[in-house]
Amino acid sequence: METLGFLIDGFGVALAPHNLMFSLLGAFLGTLIGALPGLGPANGVAILIPLAFTLGLAPETAMIMLTAVYAGAMYGGRISSILLNIPGDEPAMMTCLDGYPMAQQGKAAEALAISAVASFMGSLIATIGLILLAPILADFALTFGPAEYFALFMLAFATLGGITGKNPVKTIVAAAIGLMIATVGIDNTGVQRYTFGVLELFEGVDFIIAIVGLFAISELLFFIEEKAGGGKEKMSVNKLKLTWADIRGILPSSMRGGILGFIAGVLPGAGASLGSFIGYTLEKKVVGSKGYFGKGDPRGVAGPEAGNNGASSGALVPMLTLGVPGSGTTAVLLALLISLNITPGPLMFTQNADLVWGVIAALLIGNFLLLVLNIPLVGIFVKLLSVPPMYLLPIVTMVAFVGIYSISNSTFDLYFMVVFGIAGYLFRKLEIPLVPVILGLLLGPEMEKNLRHAMDISDGDWTVLWDSGLAIGLWVFAGLGLILPYIVGPLLLRRMNSAVANQTD
């Protein structure tokens, strides 16, 4: 019942007029970001962080706006899956299977509306799950000592590649590089590390600059390389004819997808791709031969779409309670928290209760806003989708420049961002994932601090790191997280791909 009281306070925060306004703005921008080609959710949220700072927003307002952007991006991603058969990101892959056939049959508007309703259901279920689970997990996390935290960070890195990750060694390389960048600057014993006497490096590398460079600038370079500036053909959407019966028809699918997605989102390493995949396969199993999956069955749109959105809300659970994000976008949200001087982790639920519960309430409200925005305004989003990337990406680059410049008015930061952009391009070429780099940058200081505390307590005895049952458990899971992709990953990817291949033939 305590939770309910907090939640009501949270609604008080989220419903304050200016918070509501920024929530609406965030939801709109988020859908746009999700829909536009070449702007993934992590990328979009990253570009908007400096702007949230320059606007001088209060912590809870900034966080509410960017959570709305996050939720909106998940809604937006489905638009190009359905209309163009081009998934915006991996989780959206399964939405293409039945969404695109529906669009081809002239039922694009229905597919979009159904997916909006399913997304809403998925997020709603997962947000309720978040409300129930997060306080319990936060309480549990309070029992963690420094050694357990150190092991937990290892677990986060190990599972970040995800079950479908390619080469775990490259995840380790990426994490090590991120952590190395985090050691630059004056450490807490007052020693300068790797600053080479450059004044700008004394305070360390600002991770916002790194994130914007790694994502936004490298994206520009990729588009140039692929000569993908031309954009796609224009699309039109028919007039919406949706009855209550249609919506009732997809409700069970959405519920199942949402619950599964939430579980996949909370578990480390599973993530939204798995959420939408399981959502789709389960729908096929449950509906059985009565369905016409792959030929435009609305339930085939609803299941994975609910799963996808459920997973993205579920992914907020480890981020908020443990301070350990499970995906790229939640890592970027964590970056925002850290730069707002809020220490993420279980203590946040007691020390910054109004912020946490404000964000959770905002997530609920944001979902209603998104549903309301998405059904009537879908035409606008579709129009914007046909803006060719050759105009879009240079403008996005400019927004990134403005954002970074406005943090400190320094040209040095801009050069730094370009350098990170080049590094991001090279890493992506070498198939070294970028998210562990960012996570390393974010978690580096905390990780070192916990290592120090653990060692100070044990007087320099390294075995303290795996001394408790909990710590051993975390280490074992971390080990599994690295090994499992070798065994299960190829199998799962093959099944996802063959599912896609079967349907498109």
Binding site: L220, S406, K429, D456
Partner: protein, 150 residues
Amino acid sequence: MILNDRISGILMLVLAVAYGWGATQFPEPFGGSEAVGPETFPLLLAVVLGLSSLYLIVRPDPDNAWPWSRTGLELIIALVVLVLYAMLLQPLGFIISTLLAVGTLCWRMGARPVKAYVTGGVAGGVVFLLFNFALDLSLPLGLLSFLEVS
């Protein structure tokens, strides 16, 4: 050809060694050394990166092709534009440098030159007005500073 991972592995091995060596050179912190000094964590990282780069050298993944020739040139042009944009943002002012940078990028990505530079100019102007008047943040005017209203 499986050179990419080998070469990057070697480069990262060099980085790991240099980084680890750097860690041994830190001065002892004020107040004597502790179990975990400033060098402990970096040394751990150097070992981790060193071992994984050795793995990449021994068992490299297949390569992605690098864009040589024309596309490579376009990439270099884009990078030069970005660096110049950063360099000229203050001296030329936001509007003019954005006109040039965004315009050139749009043009090189395939837009017609006139349209490209119009896009750049409009985008620069709109963002400048938005920041300076609606958001009360000053972006540099540079060459156009004679337009400044006091």
